[in-house]
Symmetry: C2
Subunit: 229 residues, 2 copies
DNA sequence: CGCTCGGTTGATGCACATCAAAGGCTGTGG
DNA sequence: CCACAGCCTTTGATGTGCATCAACCGAGCG
């Protein structure tokens, strides 16, 4: 229970729950529990019957789908404050369309699916905030599609810039610990190609990595790369 | 007014409005008007301030975004019964993120943005149906992303198969009139490459085109192509 | 001390894009 | 009625961005 109380406190700061009182959150989170995931631990797998949704509290999870070749494609990075699987839960009898895997130690507020149909659904304001969340996520997918024909460097630059949006102003080091492989899986390229591009950027001092944390030193340069051609 | 009445009748058959009475629809469509678009006519442009949303009545519209190169990328084909721009309208002060262009003569039920915030919003059931619509559309975008690394033939096959979903059972000729260029813009390839693949299929009797209407003669073959490698 | 994991580099090949040219078809204006 | 422009399709020749394969290094770890 104390973990849940802590989670409630954490959630009060999130924009998606703004305007909701502590007791309101207690209701929304009824029957919920905080789960902690180790690095690379699976929260749920594609094809599992969808029995819960929830909120990312700390760390991060990557949502990926297996491709025909067996290689996974990452469709979304879920960072703290992100609501996961809410849209799926809204539909009857569904399975998760993606696998959720922890990137580094992470914490997740796990809520029973029933909550959505009852308590969450009755909060119209919340429903619309979730719809907006879904809408912006779709916007990102569309933006990626637009870059389909663009050179790989632009895809990588675009990914890094979009991850920057989660950062507080001025902070240029991405919160998310990202391996080159994960970048490759996200933009649909091979690790080697991503490495070739990023080590070139490192040489030029545009970016700088340590311990999988990427620091975007010269954002103007990245923007320039996006405009190229 | 009579055109609007006709539109109401047409909409009564749509699953998204199921369970809503004629008078209910009259309310939802208050202030609406039926616009007819000629082939290639623009319904709205990317960047326009979003003043209306609506329902496709007949024909079809392609939703596309301009890429850096100037070439357009098609993000969605909207066919009859599809609700367009509802998610955008839900957010305050937004512009259209895509351009909508008629594919052949088409008809569109144009509704003032105010309706969404007032009448539509108060129908919880409708809101959730729209959310599901958004959710499945996002699912398609994700599926496309998974195919990023797949050979072009699979992307084209996947597109054709997904368009088949709109068809009544047994009907294998796509309702949507599609040019090779549109297919290319949708899967992120060049016209020539799409043509090379599809004319090979034509020779093999897998598909058959006339007047931009594509008939999928051997669906098993297409499924086989999707499973390959 | 072997193991896996993340990063890196070079050599080779292929699936596409790109460029070029041409023919049919439709609509439009002189 | 013809000329002309745009659009759609097609085919061939040529080039290239990136995947693939192969090998190697350092770091953490049981």
């Amino acid at each position: 229970m104390t973990a849940l109380d802590g989670a409630i406190t954490e959630c009060m700061g999130l924009s998606i729950f703004s305007g909701i009182s502590r007791t309101g959150l207690k209701e929304l989170f009824h029957g919920g529990q905080v789960v902690t995931s180790a690095h690379r631990e699976h929260l749920f797998e594609v094809g599992d019957s969808a029995s819960f949704f929830g909120v990312v509290l700390s760390g991060a999870y990557k949502l990926s789908k297996p491709s025909a070749v067996g290689e996974d494609v990452i469709v979304h990075f879920s960072t703290p404050g992100d609501v996961v699987a809410a849209f799926i839960i809204a539909m009857p009898n569904t399975v998760y369309p993606v696998t959720a895997i922890a990137m580094g130690p992470s914490r997740f507020l796990k809520l029973p699916r029933e909550n959505y149909g009852t308590i969450w659904k009755s909060n119209l304001d919340l429903i619309f905030k979730i719809q907006n969340l879904l809408s912006t996520r779709m916007g990102h997918l569309q933006d990626e599609k637009v870059l389909m024909k663009a050179p790989l460097s632009q895809k990588v630059a675009s990914l890094l810039m979009s991850l920057l949006e989660n950062n507080p102003d001025g902070e240029t080091t991405l919160r998310l610990p990202l391996t080159r492989k994960e970048i490759a899986d996200s933009v649909g390229a091979s690790v080697e190609s991503v490495i070739r591009i990023m080590s070139e950027w490192s040489k030029q001092g545009i970016i700088c990595t340590n311990e999988q944390h990427i620091n975007l030193l010269k954002i103007e340069k990245l923007i320039e790369i996006l405009r190229e051609h």
